[in-house]
Amino acid sequence: MRPLTLRRLLLQCLLLTAILFFVVVVALKFGAVPVSLYALGRDLLRVILGQSSQISSDYGLIIQNIRLPRIILGILVGASLSVAGTSFQALLRNPLADPYVLGVSSGAALGAILGLIAEPHLALPPSFAGLLIPLCAFLAATATIAAVYFLGRRQGQIDSTTLLLGGVITASFLNAVIMFLMSTVTSSNTRGMAFWLMGNLSTSFQKGVYWFLAAGFFVASAIIYSAANDLNLLLAGEKEAMHLGVDVRRVQLVVYVAASFLTGLAVSVSGAVAYVGLIVPHMMRFIFGSDHRTLLPTAALGGAIAVVIADTIARTVVAPNEIAVGAVTAIVGAPLFIYLLRRRLA
């Protein structure tokens, strides 16, 4: 491992931020409704200057109210999934680990489906109605995290093998419950379940939700980043890390909770977007090395770039219709993973 300098870290992040900016501009330009780069630049400048009220054209409103929030959602979801995936791969010392491996997404899906079933029977105030499903998903994800944690303990502390097995079994059990509900509940709301399971970013939320997601992402990521050095040592093995003075139990618990929280946040607003949390950490490790002090921030930016690109494809490839972003990430992700694997073997 090369010694890390602040300069190198900043350069890497700056490079990825520039790529992300470029991708966002491209994503803003393309969509079902065509927009010229000039109009885009002018409107963006107005937004930056706080004169968004001057945006008069319909297209400006479409960009501001539909496309931009969706891109921001993509950035937050991609970054969260990717940081969570990096953390789980280190925590479980398993290159196949992804944010969903411990059942968080299955728990969230079950919560969303229960919310969909209950929705018609509840009289919710309008401003809260759109939040019911994400909230149910998030609560169920939290419950799953707790359940898997207790399943994954051995002699009072997390054992990564037990945790992995407990998570995989929990996920498959929850998936079975979802299948059961989908084939037995006759409510017309069951139609919504299929869309939810595929993962998509077309859901619109009130402004506060984006702020909450952003705040949650930064807090959880900062917590994980503070343990970046310990994660590096954990890669060598739990015993070795302990001998080197790492409080393994504490680090495992903190990273587990924070990474699961990030996954829960992402899944509750987008459903299960596949492969991002698995592939992006591997790609970044391939390019920038496996030091978690660089890997975590670069993975966050890389995940954001990947999801924004995938969602732009999902929005435009069959415009004016759309496909689920989860379908795009899965189609691109699986071959990419095989390529990375072969490359590493060679």
Binding site: G31, A32, V33, D58, Y59, L61, I62, Q64, N65, I66, R67, P69, R70, P120, A123, L124, P126, S127, A129, G130, S183, T184, T186, S188, R191, G192, F195, N200, S202, T203, S204, F205, Q206, K207, R315, A319, P320, N321, E322, I323, A324
Partner: protein
Amino acid sequence: MTETVYALGVQDRLVGDTDYCDYPPDAQTKTKVGGAVNPSLEKIASLHPDLVLVTKALNLPETVHSLDGLGISSYASDPHTVNDILTSTLKVADLLGVPEAGAMVTGEMQQRLNSLKRRLGSFPPRQALFVVWTQPLISVGRSTFIADALLHAGAVSIVDSSQDWPHVSLEEVARLQPEYLIFADSHSETVPAQVDALATLPAWRILNAVANRRFAVISDAVNRPAPRIVSAIEDLARQLHPEVFADKPTGAKEKIEKQTSPEPTKPPQNFVFVFPSQSTGTRSLAGGCACAL
């Protein structure tokens, strides 16, 4: 399909239907054979039906193949227009040995559709968005009978997709700005709250139809290829073109229509007399039939 059987008045020969068959209420008391996609073949076989009625939009070809293997014949309807629904109703009536009832039911449907067409004649159709699901936004494609039903009701869908259930870009909807959103819901009372909720979301707020609460709610009969769809079409036409129905003095005949059209809870009285007894069973079929919606 179950609704068609009831409309034809031969429900006493219906030996089973699916979990989704909830109209008329009596249909819920029939022996259930499971869902439309995954009915229990054992249950169907145990009812010894002479004929199984299926619809391609919901049931799977595998189900029909399995029924074939059991020696149970089936008839599949695949309506893509309102006219197809009339044709398949006639066909079903024929198969069940009640062609007169079929002619009567479809004759009345045709007459009501014609009278609606005359009234709406000169008025331009409303630009509408039929909402199947809001987040993500799912609408209907051009080759569904729902899109055709909208045309009969004096509306035209802004979505022109070859997919039957397209996932539509909200951007495109915001560009086209439909005059009305149309919801089809068995819980129609929840729709205003649903629109209020949409109005709080940035992406939906910029639709004029949402901001001005211009939406129509009709019975989910519009989703079903059965005679009752005509009532849903009439109901929709009234909501979209109030001026057409307001400025004409309402005759006695129309009043009756109005009373029966919004979700009638009784099977149409006109057809009660067609009840055939088991023994009068006619040339093509005398016995039961299990229906998968």
